[in-house]
Symmetry: C2
Subunit: 656 residues, 2 copies
């Protein structure tokens, strides 16, 4: 029984350290950690192919801890194995027991929940908001497939956690795309935070649900080393068998395993301290005795192969005009109009042809977002992932693809991205290089009504555009092109940038405002008209409304400046300079709820204290259906005449 005794010994060793580090932290989840002691011990000491000296090696197997609060057990193993930690490769050093004891301290890289960006490269993504890990694992497996790397992705999911619908979106996605490199392990320790898990998440019901989804399910005692090892080996055999179904492991475990005093209700998220700690540790020692636990077998970890991932050649991306020609869309030039969403499709395809790291995802609206221009190109089809109507999974899969060194572009209606805002925030916390393109933004799609319109998204993403991510860049760039040329250029700019970006595209065709010669950049803006009486700041569809308003204002003798503020954040000084050249009078236009461009301009004006006046026009009531964009614009107070009226009243003039 040398395998069993060795695993028992390591399991108990890391369980004990989990209790000690959480006691030192004064918070944390040692009993959840203990329920995973054997599974993590086998994975990290015996089964996974990875190098403690290079935990982020692209060829190594990965472990995604979806139930992030169990992290002490992984930290404990890493401390024992001397897995490298540190914010940058230059700062890497082997993790020590002292590091483990610094859990949750301000100056520690051992954070309360997994986060590679805080200095823990063994992990690929920040977890802790439940239900997201299996999707990330699927993304890692998809990236490995695209890169021709044979590796395995283990994902540990809690039983209570498996109530999250996203877990089942991921289960379907893995089956759809045969991502058999993913090995989902459900940790059924029976106790959730506030009570026992639902009868809908018992091992038996989870097994039935997984089987219904087309999985081969292996139910094991999660504290029986050989049984766990056998199940993991079965996964290893099945994953390359084209006839086999995906394999999932359902592990029956005990919360607080090995120490009776820590079992049962009331121990979730509560470290054992003082006498309780001593008792828990003594009980684990006794359990070790009883099981004859001892390390009498060699460790087996290490990389599976030394092969390097394929070298991949990038080439220059063709110009917008060339792309229109090549993709048979030149008629748009004659027509003088093209929807920015279609320009995104053109750009995505051109980008994909030039950059083998670009992958695309969509949620069954690729014929509306025009991601289908990418998916329909035979040269690109194997880098497209149809995610069906499951936006949360799509975003987390994209985060996983990013962790797998790809540049993922995910698209759906801007409204439906709201579904995945928690996943987007966790991806930003993970340092994911995520590109999101939300179509049918604002109210200009009219007829479909508010269930399809994105209205608070500007406020949400502005919160991230105004803070900094781990790499010092804005947490997320918020882009809204006003014409097809700009949409094309900004799509390319997103790919060049290392960090999250969100671009809003429009349903209706809009006139061309720019040419191939115009240059656009993240953080940029464009002065379309220079005046002296009033600064109008707009983006997207509202730039076209503003252009119409400018003519009418001119007839009233008002000489207005028009800025296409297509990016947040932006050059604040430049905008204030323009305002100063216009008597400090600013009118902002946006066809979404407040908290977007108008507030961004108001923030810098109010911070300056220079006596600027900022009048904001935005959507202030719930829109409805209308057959034409003009109708809904007027209904929401954003019609051309209403813009003129507001401009006049801001300047305290009345129309003549």
């Amino acid at each position: 029984m040398s395998f069993d005794s060795t695993v028992h010994a390591k399991a108990i060793e890391i369980a004990k350290l989990s209790y000690q580090m959480t006691a030192a932290a004064g918070s944390g989840h040692p009993t959840t950690a203990a329920s995973l002691a054997h599974i993590v011990a086998i994975l990290m000491y015996q089964h996974m192919r990875y190098e403690p000296a290079n935990p982020s090696h692209p060829l190594s197997d990965r472990l995604v801890l979806s139930e992030g609060h169990a992290c002490p057990i992984v930290y404990a193993a890493c401390a024992d194995l001397g897995v490298m930690i540190g914010k940058t490769k230059e700062q890497w050093r082997p993790m020590t027991r002292e590091d483990a004891m610094s859990l949750r301290a301000l100056n520690s890289v051992v954070d309360g929940h997994p986060n590679p960006c805080e200095g823990f490269p063994f992990f690929d993504a920040a977890t802790g908001s439940l239900g997201q890990g299996l999707s990330i694992a699927a993304g890692l497996a998809a990236a490995a497939r695209v890169n021709g790397i044979d590796k395995r992705i283990f994902c540990i999911i809690g039983d209570g956690e498996s109530r999250e619908g996203q877990i089942w979106e991921a289960v379907d996605f893995i089956k759809d795309h045969r991502l058999t490199a993913v090995c989902p392990i459900f940790n059924c320790n029976h106790l959730a935070q506030s009570e026992a898990v639902s009868a809908q998440q018992t091992p038996a019901v989870l097994t039935a649900k997984l089987q219904a989804a087309g999985y081969e399910v292996l139910v094991v005692d999660g504290h029986q080393p050989s049984a766990i090892q056998e199940a993991l080996s079965t996964h290893a055999q099945r994953m390359h068998d084209p006839a086999a179904n995906p394999v999932a492991i359902v592990a029956k475990t005990v919360k607080g395993w090995g120490s009776a005093s820590q079992q049962g209700d009331g121990h979730h998220g509560k470290p054992a301290e003082g006498d309780a700690l001593a008792k828990a540790l003594a009980e684990l020692d006794a359990t070790a005795q009883q099981l004859g636990a001892m390390v009498d077998m060699a460790m087996k970890i290490g990389l599976m192969s030394a092969e390097k991932p394929r070298a991949k050649e990038r080439s220059a991306v063709m110009s917008f005009s060339d792309a229109l020609k090549q993709f048979g869309l030149e008629s748009a030039r004659q027509k003088g109009k093209l929807a920015t969403r279609r320009a995104y499709g053109v750009a995505l395809r051109a980008l994909g042809l030039a950059n083998p790291d670009v992958v695309a995802l969509d949620a069954d609206v690729k014929n509306s977002t025009f991601a289908e221009m990418f998916s329909k190109d035979p040269k690109l089809a194997d880098r497209f992932f149809e995610c069906r109507i499951a936006e949360q999974n799509m975003v987390s899969v994209a985060a996983g693809l990013s962790a797998g060194r790809m540049i993922p572009f995910a698209s759906t209606f801007a409204k439906f991205f709201v579904r995945a805002y928690d996943q987007i925030e966790m991806a930003i916390n993970s340092g994911a290089n995520l590109k999101m393109v939300g179509s049918h933004a604002g109210i200009s799609l009219a007829a479909d009504g508010p269930s399809q319109m994105s209205l608070p998204d500007m406020a949400w993403f502005r919160a991230f555009s105004s803070m900094k991510g781990h790499n010092g860049h804005p947490g997320c760039y918020l882009l809204q092109p006003s014409d097809a040329v700009q949409a094309y250029a900004l799509t390319l700019a997103m790919a060049e940038h290392d960090g999250p970006c969100y671009m809003r595209t429009l349903r209706p065709d809009v006139e061309f405002l720019y040419t191939d010669e115009d240059k656009f950049q993240l953080g940029g803006h464009e002065v379309l008209v220079e005046g002296r009486d009033l600064l109008i700041v707009a983006s997207g569809y509202m730039v076209h409304e503003a252009n119409k308003a400018l003519e009418k204002l001119d007839a009233q003798g008002i000489d207005a400046t028009l800025v296409d503020l297509y990016s947040l954040p932006f050059d604040e000084e430049a905008i204030l300079d323009l305002a100063n050249e216009n008597n400090g009078m600013i009118l902002t236009l946006e066809d979404n709820y407040g908290g977007g461009i108008g507030s961004a301009v108001a923030d810098i004006a109010a911070a300056d204290g220079g006596g600027f006046t900022v009048k904001q026009m935005c959507v202030t009531k719930i829109p409805k259906s209308a057959r034409e964009p003009d109708e809904i614009m007027a209904y929401c107070g954003l019609g051309v005449d209403q813009i003129v009226q507001q401009a006049m009243s801001l300047l305290e003039l009345s129309a003549t």
Copy 2:
């Protein structure tokens, strides 16, 4: 076959009108509508118990159209049956064919997707963002149970739509709570928007998944009237059998049923116009001929019973002090500190005892949000719904409970509400009377790290606090109490208000700032200290930080005003007046990302143009774990000394 021939006749009649109204609108989803023609015809002409003259009657069966884009088929039936439409009961009139033909017009109550608030009381909730309807149906069934009303809730879900994880959260919730009054009907028409539905959403796989979840599944031909009727009758029998499992219907249907030219790919969301319309209608006429369709049987609809819902007595809610006494928490008074999240639990329980319409929901963190004070009271337990770790379902269930005339309070960590932002927006669009309480808000929980911290939520909810809902109230009130007394009072105020509210509560105990005598209201604020040099605006935890800063500023000879701005929206003039009394100098404090209170104040200052200067302090980088709140505050630049420093530099002074 009089039943079949009658149903065929009605099905074809409403299918034809669906084509005609979408053609008139120039957009819409007639082929999806046609796939539901028989199911909707049987429900609305034969099976449901409701009154066209009073479609929102509390005793009537309900139909939730989760795949909202199929609404033309329901509109068509309502036009034929003269179901009442209109924004208010005073404006109600029987729907006509002309109304149907006004689909999606600006001045029409027949909106592009279902929405009761636009004047269609037959529906209970706005749908169109997919995957939410089954949760709403569960909420309606839960409300009926609480009110002792025997009614049925039919819910139609698309096959492609059933990829959304929320559908499976709802499936588990219905089983957990035995809400057998819900009859889920899966419309398997095989074609999604951009391609055929996944192999994971075929009738066979959906059946297996539902059976795995503990359902009795009836698979029927969705165009065979007797088969549909029999399945619906089976549901009617089973729903009162305590031994029976919940029943679900899986209907195999044809997208574009009855007109061959409209079947197959490429017809999703595309109305047939001109010759194509004529052809589709002719094909439906031929189908009618062939099936011998004719109305030769009486309509059967009408209310099941005339019984009135129970009258329910409300009483006055006890005072905070009395509640502390009665619930054994008086020690908090001596301690001088209490967490606002605990005060919420006290208020929720006191409120529940006084108001039988109040119901509560939580997502397995009730012992952290303190919703357990409600769930553990035997007098209230039957009005508590444990939703497990599935936030999307919780919010939509709450919206359904609201549509069932209850006042739902839903709680989880503020961070985890992000998961349900799309559901929250749809609830706001539905006019739901939804109360949300997000605990562990901001960064003061420290040790757990950013995966548990709510940081962009202020920006998101501010977008809704700055627009108006259908009833003219703010789309959502955004509340953040700074002490337990205020948290108690605001919880009561939320219950009194008709409309959505979101309240943030804090993890740590905080000192009492107020007494039972202090009054608080939605839209209010409190001046805690009156000075003349500087206006400091804060809420929640930052009020306590500001208090500490005030002492240090006083030592520097700075006489600052402190406002506890616990509500958005707020009295803008009053805040500007205070600013004017402080030389126009404003410092805002918040422990979340930007776009919240600071931007709200900057908006009004910049709009006024009176030369105010607004310095915003907020979280500008991704937080991490720290063992103490003070540590993470300082890490994020929000420590007391940093506040003092910023105040000094704003006043262009240097500390002495």
